[in-house]
């Protein structure tokens, strides 16, 4: 099977996923809930997937422990993609320095739990989220008056500023980094140590579920509607009464908070960070994850984040050509699915079905 053929099958796969979504939407509430519950359970068992007979080889990562790939890469990328999707996909602001917020989150945990204090991880994590959010507001307030390419350049600079500052400030551990970062507290049989990565995965996956739940509520609210309008046409949004600056700042702050959350999980898992963990390339990969999955679609961000994190590990067998294979895979997906694997349309189409074009009573069918 040629690469393009396999890619076609991947893309038709996502199409059948969206068709499955439509079919599910027609089912009763209980059917939908139990389907969701089974999916969530299956994903909680993800660390054991490579052990599944016959099909397990598809997901396994040769040469690297699969649970570690999940915790150090996949969970982080999915969370980050969810956060970046708010900024890029929903509000339409091109952010090329997202790694900066991720770094702020990780460094906050590192400083508070090892370098300058001994706070427990569980306390550091919410502080890290708040500090990242604050960083988003501080960066956003002066720069969100810029548009498009200009904003992209400024954010690019921000990401680099954070990394270079960490590299040069002794207070931030300079280029040697910070070690002995606190791990999350053990809960019953879940021991957060260095031996078993699975507890971190359970924690990370639970975090992802919570973030998805919160983002869904946000997306379907007035805030989501405002972001939608801003992305479509900022001037027109302003003319309709949308406080564009406020909502852009909110998108930045919420995105930054999720990025910081991912950073705090990462720091708590690896227990050692240095500035080299936060290169510019990571910002680009985060953006690639969102675009690959389908900017503006939360499920797209999840899939894109998981694939961008997992693919390089899966292709490790190609040795030094793995990055090339990864790049080709990205290009092919963008050629065959320019809107991303799961484009943003899906929700809209379902919305359309519920709208009956007729006058009178049907006018009130929505809202």
């Amino acid at each position: 099977m040629s690469l393009s053929e396999s890619l076609r099958s991947v893309t038709s796969g996502t199409r059948s996923v969206s068709r499955l979504g439509e079919a599910l939407a027609k089912q009763s509430r209980s059917v939908r809930w139990s389907f969701g519950a089974i999916c969530i359970l299956a994903l909680y068992l993800l660390p054991w997937w490579p052990n599944v007979p016959v099909l397990g080889w598809i997901v396994e990562t040769p040469g690297t422990s699969f649970p570690s790939v999940l915790t150090d890469q996949v969970v982080i990328f999915v969370l980050v993609a969810l956060g970046l999707n708010v900024v890029v996909g929903l509000a339409g602001l091109l952010d090329l320095g997202y790694v900066g917020f991720y770094a702020v989150g990780a460094y906050t945990v590192a400083i508070l739990s090892s370098q300058h204090a001994n706070l427990p991880w569980l306390l550091c994590m919410p502080i890290a989220v708040l500090v990242s959010m604050l960083a988003g507001v501080i960066l956003g307030t002066p720069t969100l008056r810029l548009r498009g390419d200009y904003l992209a350049i400024v954010t690019l600079g921000f990401g680099e500023i954070i990394r270079i500052t960490a590299n040069n400030l002794h207070w931030l551990g300079d280029s040697r980094g910070i070690s002995n970062i606190a791990t999350p507290p053990s809960i019953g049989p879940l021991k957060f140590g260095v031996l078993d990565a699975k507890p971190y995965y359970f924690l990370g996956f639970t975090t992802i579920l919570i973030v998805i739940f919160l983002l869904r509520r946000l997306e379907n609210s007035r805030v989501g509607r405002s972001w939608n309008a801003i992305r479509e046409d900022e001037d027109a949004a302003e003319l309709m009464g949308v406080d564009t600056f406020k909502f852009k700042l909110w998108a930045f702050a919420i995105g930054a908070a999720i990025g910081g959350l991912a950073g705090s999980l990462y720091a708590g898992k690896v227990q050692f960070i240095n500035p080299n963990n936060f290169p510019l390339q990571l910002s680009i990969l985060f953006l690639a994850a969102v675009v690959l999955g389908g900017a503006g679609n939360m499920w797209g961000a999840v899939v894109g984040g998981a694939l961008v994190a997992w693919m390089p590990e899966r292709f490790r067998g190609f040795a030094d050509k793995r990055v090339f294979v990864f790049g080709v895979a990205l290009v092919l997906v963008m050629v065959f699915r320019p809107q991303g694997l799961i484009p943003r349309k899906i929700r809209k189409e379902r919305w359309l079905e519920s709208w009956k074009p007729s006058t009178g009573t049907a006018l009130g069918s929505k809202e």
Partner: protein, 238 residues
Amino acid sequence: MMLEVQDLRVAYGKIEALKGISFTVNEGEIVTLVGANGAGKTTTMRTISGLRNVVGGSVTFEGKDITNMPSHERVKLGICQSPEGRGIFPGMTVRENLDMGTYTRKDHKSSAKDADLARVLELFPRLQERITQLGGTLSGGEQQMLAIGRALMSRPRLLLLDEPSMGLAPKLIAQIFNIITEINKQGTTVLLVEQNASQALRRAHRGYVLETGHVVKTGLGTDLLNDPAVRAAYLGGH
């Protein structure tokens, strides 16, 4: 006096687009600003909506100085603009576009919004036919109707229309102007910017002629229409 613009000056960098223009709009009127390309018509509209900062002068709406008020807050006062060209949301359906018009409205009772939606769809039956289509897939004329309809959904006290006839077929232009007259009869004050001066002056109560950032002539719409200088400059001199 509903809207009073006094000695308004607006610049793009060092280039002054408006060099001190003044005009007024009274409640219930249709007032039109006509002029050639680059006269400053669209700049005037964008400034009244708050999208452009002023260098000098003032904008007063119903006795309140709104010169430095942010754009989105002016919508709450009852100023709503249908922007020039394709100022619609291309990736939203016609229905979603129209719903965006109600964004600032505080009346959460959907019955009032439904009544307004029905009214807009009655004014523009084409939008009813296209209600589930994405805005970006509409024709130019339909997009123009959508932009006007969306502005109407905010229940504006003052409706700003920027070049509603741009790029439309002659038959459609007449139709759009009929609708503007109808909207005005239903009680909405209209400020209209047009290159199509003959149609605009025929429909408007009063008009102002703009030339490179200055108001050069003002008067009743019909008077301007019959003014030989205006005819020569803007109406092709027939």
